[in-house]
């Protein structure tokens, strides 16, 4: 609970910084503030006192269990890395800097609520705090029609699914008489489930699968990712995806686990379709942001495998996978943003000959691409391994085989970028990577390699 309160205060501080003329201090203050919040968040580890504000208990709304704390820590680190990038990314838009940064902090607030909700009302509020802030950020390039289009597409589809989410919650409430996860879970175990309840969870699932961009509800994600500013795309494809998955996982592990027999067939089909459509469509893409959007859809499919196995505490493998995916994606975007900028081009050709212009950056991009593809020496491989072994333990052997075959197909489009870097001829434009971008990329690379050496560090904490 303190994590959430401090983060909200930090967001308010960012808005006020503009008024108080503290613009230069903004990014350092944010980085220090988020580091403090990270420490505060980790101090709550293992403490089981119910969440409260002052003396008022809010434990029926929010429950900071270890799952929530672990994911909050990951989300704070992701945002830290993004804020480090934002200092240079927004250097030409100083007038709006504090607005952008405060809205991004509010996205983090929404994510924190989604990790720790204990009531359907908080799930709804978390999703909306996160989404409404993101609608603004996706459309934040006001004079660029592509950014506008991305914002309005995201907005219309997001608001449309919010309607479904709410109708689902209303029907669940009508049947079970409560919004609390434990109450709903008790209602399920008591038997005598009303038909209305099944319709409710179907609509709820539709909305949640939309938020994680699972096939067939994925059409928004490539368009939104392509049109949004690159930094926001990095934010969306990491923090938002992780938040949506944690929320979905929490829904199953705390509440809807008892209705797995009903959801399972639908979820198996969606998982298979997500993995296949994501990977196969990515093969023919030229725009790097779009490739990453489709690869994000495919990764959503792998994480759905983890959600399917939520009955046997797959939280740690989902957490590990989310961590590896987030670090590889942020690192990739850190280099890609500079490459896009210097070439004024967001296609794969922008990477042509990067190995000659900047061999170190090219090596980093290769590490991230190989980690996303799941090639052994990097953390992405272990992430896939844990998810797949968890799925096999739960008896989804065919689905896992299907996922393995698809992850082999995926190697093609990741290698496409690596081939462009190492074997295409370079244009004569020079590429200088700003030190802040380099620092972020190096941190991500160290994490990507480090996690393979000590995977237990993350795997043990959620056991």
């Amino acid at each position: 609970m303190t994590t959430l309160i401090y983060t909200t205060c930090l967001g308010l501080f960012c808005m006020l910084a503009e008024v108080l003329n503290l613009r230069k201090l903004l990014v350092p203050a944010l980085i220090i503030g988020l580091s403090i919040i990270f420490v505060v968040n980790m101090q709550q580890w293992g403490i089981t006192t119910p969440a409260s504000i002052g003396s008022v208990s809010v434990s029926h709304m929010i429950k900071m269990d270890n799952f929530a704390i672990a994911f909050s820590g990951l989300a704070i680190i992701i945002s830290l890395l993004i804020f480090v990038l934002s200092a240079n990314y927004y250097k030409d838009e100083q007038n709006q800097l504090s607005d952008y940064l405060s809205i991004m902090v509010f996205v983090l607030c929404g994510a924190l609520v989604m990790f720790s909700y204990n009531n359907m009302a908080m799930l709804f509020l978390g999703i909306e705090i996160l989404s409404i802030s993101l609608y603004i950020m996706a459309g934040s390039r006001r004079f660029d029609t592509r950014s506008n289009e991305s914002g309005i597409k995201y907005f219309l589809m997001g608001a449309f699914t919010s309607g479904f989410l709410l109708f689902g919650i209303a029907l669940i409430y009508g049947a079970s008489g409560t919004f609390e996860l434990e109450g709903i879970s008790k209602y399920i175990t008591a038997g005598e489930i009303a038909p209305m309840f099944y319709l409710g969870i179907s609509m709820l699932m539709f909305a949640m699968l939309f938020k994680v961009s699972a096939v067939p509800f994925h059409f928004w994600s490539p368009d939104v990712y392509e049109g949004a500013p690159a930094l926001i795309t990095a934010f969306m494809s990491t923090l938002v995806k992780v938040a949506a998955f944690a929320a979905l996982y929490r829904l199953f592990s705390h509440c809807l686990g008892g209705t797995m027999y009903y959801i399972e067939p639908m979820l198996i089909i969606v998982t298979g379709a997500t993995i296949m459509v994501g990977n196969v469509t990515a093969l023919s893409q030229k725009n790097v942001k779009r490739i990453l959007a489709y690869s994000g859809i495919a990764h959503a499919g792998y994480m759905l495998l983890g959600v399917l196995s939520s009955q046997t505490n797959a939280a740690s493998s989902v957490f590990f996978y989310a961590t590896t995916y987030a670090f590889a994606t942020i690192g990739l975007f850190a280099i890609a943003i500079m490459t896009f900028k210097s070439n004024h081009n967001e296609n794969v050709e922008a990477f042509n000959g990067l190995a000659k212009k900047n061999p170190f950056a090219a090596a980093l991009v290769s590490i991230f691409m190989l980690s996303l593809a799941g090639i052994p020496p990097f953390a992405g491989f272990l992430g896939k391994y844990y998810i797949f072994s968890e799925a096999i333990r739960n008896g989804y052997v065919t689905l896992t085989l299907f996922a393995v075959i698809n992850s082999i197909i995926a190697v093609y489009y990741y290698l496409k970028v690596i081939i462009a870097m190492y074997s295409q001829t370079a244009n004569d434009k020079t590429l200088v990577i700003h030190p802040t971008y380099m620092v972020v990329a190096i941190i991500c690379a160290l994490a990507t390699i480090g996690l393979t050496i000590v995977p237990d560090m993350l795997m043990q904490i959620l056991r």
Binding site: I136, T145, L156, G163, Y173, P222
Partner: protein, 106 residues
């Protein structure tokens, strides 16, 4: 009959709000003007409000009515953001027809 809301059978509320919700969905799917789509989304959210209030009145549990306030606040924020996005689009392309938004395609 302690409550005027309960003068009408509960199923009628369910049917009415489902109908309103479906009208909203149809509007979102078939209309091409972004403002009308926005209104239809509001219709969907308000049908949920009606449903929640009626469930709450019948079960004698006030949680649902509190939830309605959350929905109203969020819907207001959502509309504000949506209209702002529409304004910036209208300034660039002088239209609120969503068919002109076709720059991003696979």
């Amino acid at each position: 009959m302690e409550n005027t809301l309960q003068a009408v059978p509960q199923n009628w509320y369910l049917i009415l709000s489902t109908l309103l919700f479906c009208i909203g969905i149809m509007g979102v799917l078939f209309r091409r003007n972004a403002i009308i789509i926005l209104m239809c989304i509001e219709l969907m959210l308000n049908s949920v409000n009606l449903l929640l209030v009626s469930f709450s009145a019948y079960s004698g549990n006030s949680d649902g009515q509190v939830f309605v306030f959350f929905i109203m606040v969020v819907a207001a924020a959502e509309v504000a953001v949506g209209l702002a996005l529409l304004m910036s689009i209208y300034r660039n392309v002088a239209s609120t027809d969503i068919n002109v938004l076709n720059k991003l395609k696979w």
